[in-house]
């Protein structure tokens, strides 16, 4: 037993001593967790995204009530929010002595080059036209007055930030429009539409991004650990003729494998503890892995990826070849599993990979077990497909895995 535990300890200590292993198994999953939650966890929230926009006021007429209202609205959205974070807009206004037409041309060029997300122009006569419209005078003023009443939103189609900024500006204006109509008594509040929101496919509310992401990142950590760690340990030890020294001891292959697996599971436990701890205490995740189903899926995931590691070790001739195979499998299996992106509406060939990918089932099963997804796949498949991978990988490894360098 001490020999087995010695192998386990060696595997764990070697992994922790190697800085590159530490990076890929521990630092990189944490980096991704923090980065993705910082990027996608804040979408739709105030202070989550910031857009550089320009507002040019060309309205020289009187009254200026509505031009000032629009200008004030943008200034308000460019002020730092009270609850902290950055304002929605980083606002540029023309300098007092600038020629507005030349300034507009320059800002449009900035927009084309990605330096601005949007340029908003308040046309001359805007306020007067809005007042006229409100007073029911618009019908007699003709097209020119209609054009003057339109705010111009210059944006760049195809640039995500620009399209988002344009949509947000339109939404803000719609809100102000409603408020103006209400104040002038045109909008009947009694007949206002009630809006309600229903969430399906999960709990009673939208899953927070960090709760959605955390199980995926933990599985990603286990996956890279199994895919690279197991074949790396076996193949490089075989290449350096370290393994053959084990075989002259009473240890034997089964006990070596047991020790390696225990060491690997200890590393998985360490990974889980670190990623979960940071997710829970630094990033505010509320998801719990305490349920028996969650623990079972974590164990099944670690076992599946360990078996996949043995499969790679049995297919590769050298350590470097093993790493190359692991690299080839790593990205397609990771991305074609639904861990990070939705997988609806993909072509049949990719759907076939997704259906055969054990990560798909482990991801869905673990998310369902921790309560962030109401899984649509049967438990039989969620457990059966990873078990099938374990069986097939182990069978191939038993037949093919060589324990010494080829003579």
């Amino acid at each position: 037993m001490s020999g087995t535990l010695g192998v386990a300890r060696t595997h764990l200590v070697t992994a922790l001593r190697e800085r590159v292993t530490l990076f890929w198994f521990l630092v990189f999953p944490v980096f991704l967790l923090v980065l993705l939650s910082a990027v996608f966890g804040r979408i739709g929230e105030q202070g989550g995204v910031q857009f550089e926009i320009t507002v040019i006021d060309l309205d020289r007429g009187q009254p200026r009530e509505f031009s000032d209202l629009v200008l004030g609205l943008f200034s308000e959205m460019a002020a730092p929010p009270q609850e902290g974070g950055e304002p929605l807009f980083l606002l540029t206004l023309p300098p007092a002595d600038a020629d507005p037409v030349r300034f507009l041309d320059e800002e449009r060029r900035q927009l084309q080059r990605g330096g601005r997300a949007a340029v908003v122009v308040i046309p001359d006569g805007f306020s007067r036209a809005v007042t006229a419209r409100l007073g029911g005078l618009a019908s007699g003023t003709g097209d020119a007055a209609d054009d003057a009443a339109k705010l111009r939103i210059h944006y760049s189609q195809g640039t995500v930030a620009s399209e988002m900024a344009a949509a947000i500006i339109e939404q803000m204006l719609a809100g102000v429009d409603r408020e103006i109509l209400r104040r002038f008594g045109a909008l009947d509040e009694e007949r206002a539409i009630r809006t309600e929101t229903t969430w399906v496919g999960g709990g009673d509310a939208e899953t927070s991004y960090i709760d959605f992401l955390l199980p995926g990142i933990i599985l990603m950590g286990f996956f890279t650990n199994g895919l690279f760690g197991i074949p790396g340990s076996i193949l490089f030890a075989r290449d350096r003729r370290v393994l053959r020294r084990y075989w002259v001891t009473p240890l034997g292959v089964p006990r070596y494998l047991l020790g390696l697996s225990i060491g690997h599971l200890a590393l998985c436990a360490l990974q889980f503890g670190l990623i979960f701890g940071i997710g829970r205490f630094a990033l505010g995740a509320s998801v719990s892995f305490r349920s028996p189903a969650a623990v079972a899926f974590l164990a099944l995931a670690a076992a599946t990826f360990t078996a996949l590691g043995f499969l790679i070790a049995s297919l590769a001739r050298t350590g470097h070849a093993g790493m190359a195979i692991a690299n080839v499998l790593n990205m397609p299996l990771m991305f074609l599993s639904g861990l990070f992106f939705p997988i609806a509406g993909l072509p049949a060939a990719l759907v076939a990979i997704i259906r055969a990918n054990p990560l798909t089932y482990l991801g869905e099963g673990l998310r369902a077990a921790v309560g962030v997804e109401a899984g649509t796949t049967s438990t039989l498949l969620l457990v059966g497909v990873p078990l099938l991978w374990i069986a097939v990988s182990s069978a191939i490894a038993v037949r093919k895995l060589r324990w010494d360098v080829a003579r």
Partner: protein, 355 residues
């Protein structure tokens, strides 16, 4: 004079024999394109597949006309609210709207955490317009959009492809030095080459020529697959493209030189290069727009060469604008970095021979 082509030939044969290297140079970017092409086809579109249920007592025509104007990609009608919610859950539609004449209920999938903000935006726009139409009012604050892009309609994936190409240039340049040259030095191959009359700079020039050639072919294949398989739009300025591929490959070889000077062991240098490349990939606006990054990381990205390479490549392929001066300053700065560090790299190579 014949020695240089011979060196180039030997270098090319070495590269072609190294299946792993060949995979990462030629196949890996394609894999990226094929996977992300399907996964990210809709990213950045303020659009959705919308499911609608209208109860018999409500005026459905008004809602449908508003929904159709809202920019929804498709509208599917349902006979029962339960069927609509099931479709939302199964992701057959992106979100649902139920209208009974007084209440507009929107249903979203709780786990579509990155997409729901867009759907909620569309739902809010529909509710505002429906409100006005129902009360026979016109908005008083009317706005009109003006597209300044001067390009065909471009999706986020179209912008992502030049970023992936820039990343493959970065990898090829970095690993040419921190992987290939460092490994040659560690294995002692350089010792044999440097006892010939060939100067170290000639060997490095041969490596640069072959790597640049191969990465150029790789970028072309990626570009043509993206264009052919996904119908993406590119308007390539070939002079800028060629000069940029050469300049940026040299620049990344320069960065590789810095790595091998700092990290002594070949395997460690390759690992450091790998880690640096991966970190840059996530912080340079290749996967998601830079505007999504927190302010500190956005500022950090200014210092990352991949960000500037991705922007310059987008410009050279005609999917994004920048000033011509900005493009040439970026390209020449990268080339200068490579050329200035070439003698330093040569000294590193020779120092290896003397040990």
């Amino acid at each position: 004079m014949r020695a240089f082509p011979a060196l180039c030939g030997a270098e090319l044969r070495l590269l072609l024999r190294d299946r792993a290297q060949l995979f990462f140079t030629l196949i890996f970017p394609l894999l990226f394109i094929l996977i992300f092409g399907f996964l990210m086809a809709d990213v950045g579109e303020v659009s959705a597949r919308l499911g609608v249920y209208v109860s018999p007592e409500a005026n459905g025509d008004l809602l449908v006309s508003v929904v159709e104007e809202s920019g929804a990609r498709s509208v599917q009608m349902f006979d029962l609210p339960a069927l609509l919610r099931h479709a939302v859950e199964a992701q057959d539609v992106d979100f649902g709207m139920e209208w009974d004449g007084t209440t507009l209920r929107s249903s979203y999938h709780a786990n579509r955490v990155t997409e729901n903000a867009t759907y909620q935006q569309i739902a809010q726009a529909v509710a505002s317009t429906l409100e006005l139409r129902r009360q026979e009012l016109d908005p008083v604050l009317v706005s009109e959009r003006y597209d300044e892009s001067e390009r065909q309609e471009i999706r986020w994936f179209n912008i992502m492809v030049p970023g992936i190409i820039a990343f493959s240039i970065l990898s090829a340049g970095l690993f040419a030095v921190s992987g290939h040259v460092a490994a040659m030095k560690e294995r002692g191959t350089l010792t044999r080459l440097l006892v010939t009359p060939m100067p170290a700079v000639a060997l490095l020039a041969a490596i640069a020529v072959v790597r640049t050639g191969v990465v150029f072919v790789s970028t072309l294949i990626t570009l043509f697959i993206a264009w052919g398989a996904f119908g993406l739009y590119f308007s390539v300025n070939w002079i800028q493209y060629v000069v940029f591929v050469i300049g940026s490959t040299l620049g990344m070889m320069g960065l590789g030189t810095v790595i091998v000077l700092v990290v002594r062991r070949a395997s460690s240098a390759a690992n450091v290069a790998n880690i640096l490349a991966m970190v840059m990939l996530f912080l340079s606006g290749v996967y998601f727009p830079l505007e999504f990054l927190p302010p500190a990381l956005r500022a950090l990205s200014q210092a990352l060469p991949l960000r500037h390479m991705a922007e310059a490549m987008r410009y050279a392929t005609g999917v994004h604008d920048m000033s011509v001066t900005h493009f040439w300053v970026t390209t020449l700065a990268l080339a200068a970095l490579g050329l200035l560090l070439l003698p330093v790299l040569a000294a590193y190579v020779v120092r290896g021979e003397r040990r």
